[in-house]
Symmetry: C2
Subunit: 283 residues, 2 copies
């Protein structure tokens, strides 16, 4: 069966596999200084944000990505006051972060202001945290921005696109060095590090480079399933010299309010149990 | 971008989402008594088996499904001698089961002999276990077949298609009753129970019906990621009144040989940590 171009949006992965959604309406389609931005209304995945032809956010499954980027780290940090999110212009990560009352400031450094504005317009629930008084948006290159800070942040999150186009600088070793310098003692960095199943080279390179920067035992990849991303099995990497992401978390009770859809303390610990082939990739 | 019908195979899920693979060659395309069977050679996913238009097996990711169907149960059963697999004509589950020396017999009850033969021909590694001397293939209706036994099997695995067409009978409450009767004391049943993300009604119905048959505490859903299945996040349900799937497993050391790609004892325990939305679906 073939899909008609007029009704389906398709992301093709390396001319090998493709994921498609049927849409009822194209809501937004503009080319910013950095990339093409498209937003579709779909029945199967709700509203969908496409950057540079790739699925970034869907109302159906992005809660998995945003919760698993933010809560494993936030729930084990006992007092995270200053947080930096690099990329993540949809605001979903910030929305999760402002659920913690101890946070004093969260800065979103997104290079493309049109991504932020289009998400404020079309994904009001996902971007809701951007209107919190503790949140500020900076439109700058994330790698250059974080390099200005030393001993500043309790948590740095890297919510990047794939390592092509505007996201490429966020997979460089010099960027990882800058993140490490920007962290306060006891701080944590969490980066999205691609799919270990379909993008194993990118995953292995990220973990290897992060180990060189943070030290091998400080670097802990973990997984969640994000159906709209190629490969579905998605990795994040938790980097900290001081904080154990798998132990009992002082902060977990704060999240017992039932407003999360994916994260639980047990899910956090489970996410670090890597399948055998992933363990072997990074042995 | 649109996909050409001549080079891509596409599975469309409820006219809402679609997953596609580009193929270099169509290796097999026949209509059996039960369904259309297609096999493609692809670069992205290796060889791919399609039953009734749905992805069943890919060389790239089926190890996840087969290992997670079989090993969580086999590794916690200390002496599983007699095993029944219902469905699973690709032989992948049997191939995992015959890795255990204590198994005396494993019966594959697959309704469609053309599925078995085409997998023997085109997926020799996945179906390799079918040539083990302890394995036998029965071509029969799985629901009718299992109803003939009482107090017979240590493990019954249900490796079904979706609950339409030939797979529909394998989602009936009477079938679950028959499985329970066929088990020996201390026996375990594991069933594939669809995606809790895209097929939540089917998942909830299966878990609810299994709880009525086996008793609520005996029924434990668990998850793995199978990228080529709709929704990616796939569920299995472990049913046993006697065996705890999350505790320490006597048999785990047998699997330390390094021939598994996904399963580890830690992955088994982690698979039972359900995301919050899945917990709520089956509260």
């Amino acid at each position: 069966m073939s899909l008609t171009e007029s009704e389906w949006f398709t992301e093709i992965w390396k001319d090998q596999t493709a994921f498609s959604v049927r849409y009822s309406k194209k809501l937004f389609d503009r080319v910013s200084e950095f990339q093409r931005i498209e937003i579709f209304q779909t029945e199967g995945m709700g509203r969908v944000l496409i950057l540079g032809g790739c699925f970034m956010v869907t109302e159906k499954d992005s809660f998995i990505y945003h919760e698993m980027l933010v809560h494993p780290a936030m729930s084990v940090l006992s007092d995270a006051r200053r947080v930096l999110v690099i990329g993540g212009g949809d605001g979903g990560a910030v929305t999760e972060i402002v659920k913690y009352p101890e946070v004093e400031s969260v800065t979103l450094c997104e290079i493309d202001p049109m991504v932020v504005q289009s998400c404020l317009d079309y994904f009001p629930e996902i971007s809701a945290g951007l209107s919190d008084s503790r949140a500020q948006v900076v439109n700058d290159d994330g790698a250059a921005y974080v390099a200005r800070f030393e001993d500043e942040f309790d948590l740095v999150l890297v919510d990047s696109t794939d390592p092509v186009g505007p996201g490429a600088a966020l997979f460089e070793r010099t960027f990882y060095d800058a993140i490490k310098r920007s962290l306060r003692k006891g701080g944590v960095a969490v980066l999205q590090t691609e799919s270990p199943l379909l993008m194993e080279k990118e995953f292995v390179k990220a973990v290897t480079d992060l180990r060189e920067v943070f030290g091998r035992p400080a670097v802990r990849p973990y997984l969640a399933t994000v159906p709209s991303y190629p490969g579905g099995l998605w990795s994040f990497t938790f980097c900290s010299r001081d904080v154990d992401p798998v132990g009992q978390a002082p902060s977990d009770p704060r999240l017992a309010r039932g407003d999360l859809q994916y994260y639980t303390p047990a899910v956090r610990r489970a996410a670090f149990a890597l399948p055998a082939f992933v363990e072997r990739l990074i042995e």
